[in-house]
C-alpha cells in the first residue's frame, strides 16, 4: 500500500516534471493545505520512488546560482498511481454505500 506522501508526490508529477520545492508546493495545493511535506520527508519518499522506478530524474536547471533537479513520473509510476487511485476510490465507494445504511444507535432497524 502506498503512503499518503508518496501518493501526493506521484500526483504532483502527473502533468509536468517538478523540482523538490516545486513538489512541496504542489502537494500542499493538491491536499488543500493538509499535507505539508518537510524536506526530509520529501527526499525519503523521492529516494524510495526513484529506487522503485516510479519516478526518474528529468533534467537539471540552474536557478539563482543553484542546481535544481527536476523529477518526472515514469510509465510504471503512472500505472502504480492509477492502481492506487482506483483502490482508494473503491474503498471510498464501499464506505459511502455503508454509511448510507447507518442509523444512530437506539433507532434500530424496522422489523
Amino acid at each position: 500500500m502506498m503512503t499518503e506522501p508518496a501518493f501526493f508526490v506521484l500526483i504532483a508529477l502527473v502533468n509536468e516534471p517538478r523540482h523538490g520545492y516545486g513538489i512541496v508546493g504542489e502537494v500542499l495545493a493538491l491536499s488543500e493545505g493538509r499535507v505539508q511535506l518537510k524536506i526530509g520527508t520529501l527526499y525519503g519518499v523521492l529516494d524510495r520512488l526513484v529506487g522503485e522506478g516510479l519516478v526518474e530524474p528529468d533534467r537539471d536547471e540552474v536557478h539563482q546560482g543553484r542546481l535544481r533537479r527536476y523529477y518526472r513520473l515514469t510509465e510504471s509510476g503512472h500505472r502504480s498511481l492509477t492502481a492506487e487511485a482506483e483502490r482508494q476510490a473503491a474503498n471510498a465507494r464501499a464506505a459511502s454505500a455503508r454509511l448510507h445504511t447507518w442509523r444512530p444507535t437506539g433507532q434500530g432497524c424496522a422489523s
Binding site: I39, G40, G51
Partner: protein
Amino acid sequence: MTRLEGRYRRVLRLLPASYRRVWEEDMVCAFLESVHTDDPEAAEYMADFGRPGWPEVASIVALAVRLRIGSAGAPPRYAAWSEAIRLAVLAGMLVNAAASTVGAVMTLWLAGMIPLAPVPVLPEPPGYPDLWHRVSLFSALTGLLWLPAFLALVSGRWAAARWLGSAAAGTALLSAAVTVAVTSQRISGEVAFVLLINVLLVLAQAAFHRGVVPVKRRSWLAGVGVCTVVVAGYAWLQFQFMTSLPPLDWAGLWCLVLVAATVAHLAGWARRRRDRFTAWTPALAILAFTVLGLRLVTLLDFARFGSAGWHPATVALGIAEAVAVAVAAIILLLLSARTLRRLPATAADGIAWSTRPSRSPHNGPH
C-alpha cells in the same frame, strides 16, 4: 555559503554519508527555496541568523532513523543492516529466554520448591539478609518473562514482545538495585553489562516493524530448546564440581559458543559464493563484540573482586577466550563491511543522475 546553509548542512550530517552523496545538494537547494523571501532585508537577516525549524530538523532525524533501522522501502544496505540487527536481537532474546528458564528452575530447586533432586547445602554468603533471598526469588521468577517475550517476537507479536521484554529488563534492573541496597555490595561489571544488554535488546526491537520478513519460527524454537539444554548442562556441571569450579565460567561458555558459531559460519561462507551477502555475518559481528564485552568486564571483575573459588586456570583461559573472540569479531567485522559496502546505500543508487546544468529547460519529455 550563508550561515543558514551551513546550519542546514550540519543537520544533514545526521544522514549516512552515502545517502548525502546522492541527495544533499538537492535537499539544500529545496530547503533554501522553502525559506526564500523576496524582501531583501528579511532574506539577509534569515541568511545570517535563520535556523532550520524544528519540524525540518525532526524530518531529517526521522529519515536518518528510518534509513538506519531499515524501515519499509529502505535502501538495500540499510535493509540488510536492519536484518542483521533483528538476527542479533533474536539470538540475544533466545539466550535470555533459555538462561532465565534454567535460572528460575535452579532457584526454585535450591529454595526447596521443586523436588528435582536432593538440594546441595551451599555456603551462605555473609551479610545477605532474608530480603536478599526474596529478591533473588523475585528476580528469577520475573526473569521468566524473557521466554514469552522471545516467543512473542518469534510469532510476529512485536508489540507484546516489546512490553514483555521491557518488563523483564525493568524488573532485572529493580532486582539489581534492591540487591545492591540490601547487601551493601558493589555491583559487578558482569551484572551491569548484562543489564545494559537487556535494555539494548528492548530498544533494538525497533528493527522489527511493518514490512519485515517473518521470522523463521521453527528454527528459532528449535534454537531455544538447544540453548536451554546447553545452559542446563552447564549449570549441572557447575553443581557437579561445586568444591572446585571448572575453568569455564559463564562468559567463557558464550565465548566458546561464539567461536564455534563463527568457525561454522566461515566454513559455510567459504563453500558458498563468497560475494553473496548473508545477514548472519554482521549479526555474528554484533554478537561477537557483545560477547567480547562480557568477557572483558568479567576479567575486570576477577581483578576487582579476586577469583577465589574459581579454578586456577579460569583467568588465563579467560584471557585466551578474549583473544579468540576478538579475532573472530575483527574477521566478521571486515567481512560485514566488505559485503555491506557492495549493497546500494540509497534506493536511488544506480540511477544515472545528471549533475550538469541543463542544456535546455525543455529537453525532457513532458
